[in-house]
Subunit: 360 residues, 2 copies
């Protein structure tokens, strides 16, 4: 084992067993193996187990193996029982799981009588994909990895914290119920709302739907998701999801029933603006207000590159980009979000370089 | 006047008067003047009028001027009365307006007794900005411009159609009430829902809110808007907006009240998926399924350019981009949406060029 620059031996890497070789389990395995960890991995499906071994996500659990960490990476509906089983089957191990709901699993760990050896995890991958074949070691890199210690002792927490550290995740420590309440509001209810906004398009003709702009595309982007694990998630986070839907329904009803719908909508928009400004931007700072510069870009390979070249030549960093294709024309509108103090200069330089600025 | 390649004289450009010199009126004026039209423009605010004249949005209306087209570009709440006034004041003109709600204004035009000289317009600018100072001639270029003829004769429609044609807009002809129903669903209700999802974040701590991913950012992006004209819009489109909110609330209630919340959410997601697939993609075709390739990009000027260079070198066109900044790390995740048949090759080439692929 390598030593660090101080000549001291870093802490030993815990022997780690992964239960479940789907996308999440296999990706964690690949990532840990790449960092030199001794990883075993097993799935109740023998083909999935063989695949995980063949792609370097870990080896077979051998008789006499005594894992120090067990990671339960099974679908949310099975996590509680597999965590309880694992706490009994591996009495020398600290057990974690990767389900996106934490309180019911913490309760099951507690009820098993071995709750002091359970620390919940929620590694937040950005995209919904599935299956061991899609696994890759850096699926979670630079993403939040929530730890819910639920009263576990410090050494147990420190051991489980080595996982997100090895995978270069952003560690966030939270109470399990606080986590579930939070994801109801930042993830689960937004999915329900986006799907409901999309479903309301059902009465429209194709001509009507073609009036859609970037706003509708943004709001409904996640409505294109597979139902996948959402049924499990909704069942396991029933209480927090219902409370959030109640809040949202209440606000929609207030607009709908108001004597003055204009005043009610203005009030809701003002309240929403305050909250949306709290969603963190880059580097954990408050979200900055960027200035949008919208450029007309011919819909040809290389044009976006040419635009970015011209922007970079000015030394302006692009904080975000939105591309909107025009339904009937061979051009797209590309909106660059940039430092407000540089927007005027950027607009002038791009105009000089014959870019058509649609709005800035 | 120039002749076209056939040697024939193109149709004469109609003398055009614009009532209202805010962003929309002044931008249309600049665009038409640039195309050689004789444009007059006036605002009830003398400063706005002078500004419009000084930036080339048109000249003063002189005694004896007889406009053939009058464009009413005033806030939605004033549009109905100013259209009726303009129909009386300019008996030789076809009158249009630019408000984002069409049925109440068509009704006012009809009630004025001069409805046969009114053709409604809704030029759909992509972004909410305001004030004559921000005006530019191509604000509407490549955007939809809806025409609502409401039974006006063909020559009146043809005259008003010259406006979006001169400004290179995408002309869409619709019934006024169908337009209002459609925008309730593709624009107004999505704004209400996005603001309600954002407002529901109000119970969360900063740590909770930091769990937000790209899904929440997409759903709530338009919740950062100014309330601006939304009060007017909601009042004027009250009936269609309430009907749409009813639909959305009904779907949310169905999930909330279901005996099996998982089954109810799966049903809603499936219905939403079908509808979101109907939102047109580029060139009016059905939205294609692109493959997402997510790359870890250091958060430094020029890195995005380097990535796009490498992508372009492979000859792969980037159909869309999403940039997600990591709250606590100096890297961002950039997701490129590309032709599914090219994604594997692209991923391989980018890996060769030392890009870290987070998911594809």
């Amino acid at each position: 084992m390598a030593t660090d620059g101080t000549g001291q031996t870093p802490p030993a890497l815990p022997r780690t067993h992964i239960v479940g070789a789907g996308l999440i389990g296999a990706s964690i395995g690949i990532g840990l193996v790449a960092e030199g960890w001794d990883v075993t991995i097993e799935d109740r499906d023998a083909d999935a187990t063989r695949l995980a071994h063949s792609i370097g996500a870990g080896r077979s659990l051998a008789p006499g193996d005594t894992p120090q960490v067990v990671i339960v990476a099974v679908p949310p509906s099975a996590a509680a029982s597999v965590v309880a089983d694992s706490l009994r089957a591996f009495p020398g191990a600290i057990v974690t799981d990767v389900a996106s709901i934490k309180a019911p699993i913490a309760a099951a760990a507690h009820n098993s009588g071995h709750g002091e050896r359970y620390v919940g995890s929620h590694p937040m991958a950005g995209r919904e994909i599935s299956g061991g074949l899609a696994a890759q070691g850096d699926l979670f890199k630079a993403r939040p990895w929530v730890l819910c210690p639920n009263g576990a002792p410090a050494d147990a927490i420190a051991l489980i914290r080595m996982l997100p550290q090895a995978l270069q995740c952003d560690v966030v420590v939270m109470d399990a119920q606080a986590h579930d309440n939070a994801v109801a509001r930042v993830s689960h209810a937004p999915q329900v709302a986006a799907s409901a906004v999309a479903a309301a398009l059902g009465t429209l003709s194709p001509t009507d739907v073609a009036l859609a702009g970037q706003g509708l595309r943004d709001v409904t982007r996640i409505a294109a998701t597979d139902a996948g694990m959402w049924a499990d998630i909704a069942r396991l986070n029933h209480h927090a999801l219902v409370a959030t839907l109640d809040h949202i329904i209440g606000d929609l009803e207030d607009v709908k029933e108001a004597d003055d719908i204009g005043e009610a909508l203005t009030d809701l928009i003002e309240r929403g603006r305050i909250e949306v400004a709290r969603i963190p931007g880059k580097h954990g700072g408050a979200q900055r207000d960027y200035t949008a510069v919208t450029v007309i870009v011919p819909d040809e390979a290389g044009q976006l590159l040419r635009l970015l070249s011209d922007v970079t030549a000015v030394g302006v960093n692009v904080e975000d980009i939105a591309i909107e294709h025009s339904p009937r024309q061979p051009v797209g509108l590309t909106t660059l979000y940039v430092d407000p103090t540089r927007a005027t200069e950027l607009t002038a330089v791009l105009s000089d370089k014959d870019w058509e600025i649609a709005a800035s």
